[in-house]
């Protein structure tokens, strides 16, 4: 093994050697630097391998020919080898990244860079306190030197502010070191620790100064204005070094020095870290500059790591795993993003949409953003999960809330950024200038992150229980993205069929899961069929479609809460990106993500609260939560964000309406059932015996009823066909929630019938309407009309769809209505029930508007030549219609086993529904789908034949054989009747549809932004203000501590 001292020797030696070079020898200087850095990587990696392969013994390196405390010693153990390794790898890649910029400057850059690297290596390895001061200063000087190389005067100003701030901070450090020596007589950490120090006022003051200085180096909020300016002004390659490199060294330093203090720093670290995490992320919301935004995020993440450091004693054996997971995500993602920023060379985050010119860069950008936010399967997810669960076990609920709030704000601005890059306005400039040395480092970091995910998944407590096959398949799809769409589509459909076949025997005896698996898989396959109509590559569609379906299937398969949450997040992520693909869906996808993120964190807290007091993650722990009121309510609200309950519904219409034609049915007909499944699982496990559950269910019942009313009412007033369907989904999900809240056998049967029906008709309707929209290229219903002639098939599909939706016998919708009456009357929720029935009749209004405005009335000139939708849209529609017909005629096929299953479960032992052949009956009434179908069918055919006989000589009328009255073909929206069709209804009941929820959330949004915007003005830009912040910060912490 090479002695690590040689890292320092070689780096320093090369730096000196290069210093002797002439300017024209800069090529040689570059090569020498790369070799030196590569050597450093080699040494630290070999030591890391050495330690990870079972070696325990820590290497002590003595310098100056004497033993400590008389000379400085360095230490190389597992931790040191890990941190020097990541820093050296970063250094090597960072240098390669900056290579061309350094060349332009001559040799200076290389020299300073090598010195910086050397300083960081020493900082990690040294055991001497004064040495720490020296090399912190060296690192600061080197950083300032690198900043100096940039010509921009703003960079110089930032560099000066940085120097002043760091100078003041290190003055305190030095004073601390002096007094430390005065009281302890040594500067060696180990010697001091071995001497069993006693707490004297003097020495604790000295250690306070040392530690607070290191903490200030970590840029705690709000004493961090100087650092933000540096992040913004510096060359992104250098920002990457500061954010990932220097910060790493400093945090390890803090970790190393913490044992010195006999004071308990734990609460202070936690508080400092959390304030930084939450504060910095809130301020980030108002930020528009990309690099500065990364700075905010970077500071926030470091704050998060500080918190974890503070929690170390409480986390016990899990500390290392949690810390590493968070650290490695931040380290890789932040460096990667800064590097990408250097390629983009744009200030405003809006202009980053130029990334779309290069799919590799776009992919990496998305990858790093998601890594930062901590979506599964990205590395930080595992750490966050473990952390929250540990905190829950120790009753740190406030901490959980704060951490997740901070994460939420971070997610907010990162997703906004992500959305703007994916869908923001196109940049006019031609292409990005991409050089190989700029793209190599982020590519390697992406690969490292994937590897890290793999290892973290294996190391995490529940990771081994995950089914990773879908994840591998998603990665495969990313790699195959160059293939034409139809090949990938076939591949995905085949995979889903195979998966279904594999899954079936596992859940065959669980009708509940079987039904939802059927909806997810069958629905998935059907909706994917529509994708065959799309030509080209359809880049980036299939991996996310599979991600969504994999998530949904994961919900079904989940055996523990970890798997459940993992799948939930996977589904959210996939669906978000699918929705984002729509032409105008930027803001809607963002809203969807915000609500989903908030919802997911509520679920997270809910799970954590339920976990409290248990020792397993099994799903069953939900049935014995020690805090039923809180945990169940939070879980329910979390699921309700996905099912778009009233108040949480504002994201849905836009998201579903603006998605692509074949994505709308996926997210509406299928995805929403994910939320329903979550609710079902929750209700099943929590039961309805206790008073808390009772109250919760009662409230949810009302919420469901009101959702149904408002959703349907809003649908009536829409002019946009897809929005109309989307609001109708809100209403329908309201029914389902309402029926689930009954917690009776019939109630659940109703809810499941509704779920199946909603899947069938809403997928059908969205496919049909989506196809029409694809052909006529408008969503506005009043711009269509008379399309029945051109699209007879779509008309039939919509007709069947709305008859089912409206619950008109003989089709399957009626089954839901009938069960509903029975459920309402047996449960005794009459008024909520009446409200829901009223909503049901309102549904007729929009059903009529939908079919009338699109297919009937006067044909429009410009659509005279449109064709029927592609066959690939018709096939799934036909399958769905057959499904509806079968379910209508023989509802017993599905409802009977379901009823039996519910009756056998513990919660609904009484089965009031009895079947006699095909006739269902309860105490209240009876209904025979089959016979009704028969009677109506026979009668309908007879009457039709009769009319045909009577009017056999009927003659066809063309459009212009009759008058045009009241409709002027130009300017349709003012004269077309179906524009504002139900204005009278609005006059009468419009007050129920006022956008209160939208107003409320807009208010929350603007308050948050205003708070963020006014708070960030503490960073005045004046270097002296920053110094004052630092001084006040030290004072406040001191006063709190002593």
């Amino acid at each position: 093994m090479v002695n690590p001292i040689y890292i320092i020797a070689i780096l320093l030696g090369s730096a000196f050697l290069i210093g002797l070079f002439q300017k024209k020898e800069k090529g040689l200087a570059g090569i020498l630097s790369v070799l030196a850095l590569a050597f450093a990587v080699f040494v630290s990696v070999s030591w890391f391998i050495h330690f990870t392969s079972g070696q325990q013994e820590v290497l002590q390196i003595f310098t100056g020919g004497a033993r400590p405390p008389f000379a400085i010693n360095l230490q190389m153990g597992l931790e040191e080898s890990l941190f020097t390794m990541v820093i050296n790898v970063l250094g090597l890649l960072g240098f390669i990244y900056l290579y061309r910029d350094f060349r332009e400057e001559g040799i200076k850059g290389s020299v300073i860079f090598l010195v910086l690297m050397m300083a960081m290596n020493v900082l990690i390895m040294t055991r001497d306190i004064f040495n720490i001061f020296v090399f912190l200063e060296v690192a600061s000087i080197a950083t300032a030197g690198l900043l100096y190389l940039k010509k921009d005067f703003r960079s110089s100003a930032a560099g000066f502010k940085y120097l002043i701030a760091v100078g003041v901070i290190s003055s305190f450090l030095l004073i601390g070191i002096g007094f430390f020596y005065l009281h302890s007589g040594t500067l060696n950490i180990d010697t001091y620790l071995q001497s069993n120090p006693t707490a004297v006022k003097g020495i604790s003051m000295a250690i306070f100064l040392i530690l607070i200085a290191i903490i200030l180096e970590l840029k705690p909020f709000p004493a961090n204005g100087w650092a933000l300016d540096v992040y913004q002004a510096a060359h992104p390659g250098i920002s990457a070094m500061i954010s990932s490199g220097t910060a790493t060294a400093s945090i390890y330093l803090l970790y190393k020095l913490l044992p010195l203090s006999s004071n308990d720093w734990t609460p202070y670290l936690i508080a400092i870290g959390l304030i930084t995490f939450v504060g910095s992320n809130i301020l980030g919301i108002a930020q528009k500059n990309g690099n500065r935004l990364l700075g905010y995020s970077s500071i926030g993440q470091i704050g998060f790591m500080l918190t974890i450091l503070g929690l170390a004693p409480r986390l016990g054996e899990h500390f290392h795993f949690i810390f590493l997971s968070i650290f490695i995500s931040h380290f890789l993602a932040k460096a990667g993003l800064f590097w990408i920023s250097g390629i983009v060379q744009k200030q405003n985050i809006k202009e980053w949409s130029v990334l779309r010119k290069n799919s590799l860069l776009l992919f990496m950008f998305g990858f790093f953003i998601l890594t930062l936010i901590g979506f599964p399967p990205f590395p930080s997810f595992y750490g966050k999960w473990q952390l929250i669960m540990e905190l829950a076990q120790q009753r740190f609920f406030i901490l959980i809330v704060a951490i997740l709030a901070g994460s939420f704000f971070e997610g907010l601005y990162l997703f906004r950024w992500f959305g703007k890059v994916m869908k923001g306005e196109e940049e006019k400039e031609n292409s990005l200038v991409i050089k190989w040395e700029k793209i190599l480092p982020p590519v390697l970091f992406t690969i490292f992150a994937v590897i890290a995910s793999y290892f973290l998944n294996n190391a995490s407590e529940y990771g081994h229980s995950l089914n990773l096959i879908p994840i591998y398949f998603i990665i495969l799809l990313f790699l195959l993205d160059f293939l034409p769409a139809w090949i990938k589509n076939s591949l995905v459909i085949t995979a889903m069929v195979i998966y279904s076949v594999r899954l079936y025997p596992l859940i065959a005896d669980d009708s509940l899961r079987l039904i939802f698996a059927g909806i997810f898989m069958l629905g998935g396959i059907l909706t994917l069929f529509a994708g065959y109509s799309i030509k080209g590559k359809r880049a980036g569609f299939f991996p996310f479609a599979v991600m969504m379906y994999a998530g949904l299937m994961g919900l079904i398969e989940a055996e523990n809460l970890f798997q459940f949450f993992f799948s939930w997040e996977l589904m959210t992520l996939g669906s978000y990106i699918l929705i984002l693909r729509g032409k105008k869906s930027l803001i809607h996808a963002f809203n969807y993500m915000l609500f989903s993120l908030g919802g997911a964190y509520l679920i997270f807290i809910g799970i954590a609260l339920s976990y409290f007091g248990h020792h397993s993650m099994d799903l069953n722990i939900l049935s014995s939560s020690t805090m039923p009121g809180w945990s169940y309510s939070l879980l329910a609200i979390g699921f309700l964000t996905k099912t778009a309950a009233l108040g949480l519904h504002i994201w849905l219409p836009g998201a579903h309406a603006e998605a692509e034609s074949d994505v709308s049915p996926m997210v509406s007909g299928i995805l929403l059932k994910g939320g329903v499944f979550g609710l079902i699982l929750l209700f099943l496990l929590m039961g309805a015996e206790q008073s808390e559950q009772h109250t919760l269910l009662y409230v949810l019942g009302w919420l469901g009823a009101l959702t149904a009313l408002v959703g349907n009412l809003l649908a009536v007033f829409q002019e946009d066909a897809k929005r109309l369907l989307a609001y109708s989904s809100v209403g329908n999900l309201g029914y389902i929630l309402f029926a689930l809240a009954f917690m009776t056998n019939v109630g659940w049967l109703t809810a499941l019938t509704y779920s199946i029906n909603h899947f069938l008709f809403k997928t059908l309707l969205f496919l049909a309407i989506g196809g029409v929209v694809m052909r006529v290229k408008t969503h506005k219903m009043y711009e269509m009309g008379g399309l029945i002639k051109q699209m007879p098939w779509s008309f039939i599909a919509v007709l069947i769809g709305i008859i089912t939706l409206a619950g008109i016998p003989p089709l399957a919708g009626y089954a839901g209505k009938w069960l509903f009456y029975n459920a309402v009357i047996t449960k005794g929720w009459y008024f909520q029930g009446a409200l829901v029935f009223f909503s049901g009749t309102i549904a007729f209004l929009y059903c009529f508007k939908l079919i009338y405005s699109i297919f009937l009335g006067q044909p429009k000139d410009k659509f005279r030549k449109v064709k029927e939708v592609p066959i690939w849209y018709i096939i799934p529609q036909a399958v769905l219609i057959i499904g509806i017909m079968i379910f209508s005629a023989r509802p017993d096929l599905i409802l009977k086993p379901l009823g039996n299953m519910l009756a056998q479960s513990n919660y609904f032992p009484t089965d009031p529904l009895s079947w006699e052949n095909v006739t269902a009956s309860t105490n209240l009434g009876y209904w025979s789908g089959y016979k009704i179908m028969l009677v109506i069918g026979v009668m309908f055919v007879i009457l039709l034949l009769w009319l045909m006989l009577m009017s056999r000589k009927a003659q066809k009328i063309k459009q212009f054989n009759i008058v045009y009255a009241g409709e002027r073909p130009f300017k349709p929206e003012t004269t077309h009747f179906s524009h504002n069709m139900f204005s009278h209804y609005y006059k009468a009941l419009g007050f129920l549809s006022l956008p209160l929820a939208t107003g409320f959330w807009n208010g929350v949004n603007s308050v948050t932004h205003q708070v963020a915007d006014s708070t960030r003005r503490i960073y005045t830009g004046n270097g002296q203000t920053y110094i004052i912040h630092i001084l006040i910060y030290i004072l406040i912490v001191y006063m709190l501590m002593f």
Partner: protein, 123 residues
Amino acid sequence: MKYLGLEYITVIAGFLLLIVGLWGIISQKNIIKMIISFSIIDTSIHLLLVAIGFIRNRTAPIIDSSVDKLKAADQITDPLPQALVLTAIVIGIGITGLMLTYALKLYRQNKSLEINQYKSLKW
């Protein structure tokens, strides 16, 4: 304590200078004056460090004619703080030098040495 010992004077002077320096750095708008204030802080710390190593009635830790080589450890003051001071001075000079370079660069670019003028990066 009959009279104020040298070490106390040094410590008090050190702290006074520290406060002066800090005050200067946050109140003076001129960049050069800020750098000078920083140097004052530096000096104050050096004073403090020297005071820490001081042991009354002993000589400087330099082995020359005034010190018995064999009893050196009992005759000289603690050499370590003095070494620290030396290092700190070097580093302080480095930083001051870099600050001055920045000042020069800023002045060349913007013709101003007022710290208030450099607020284009904020929030």
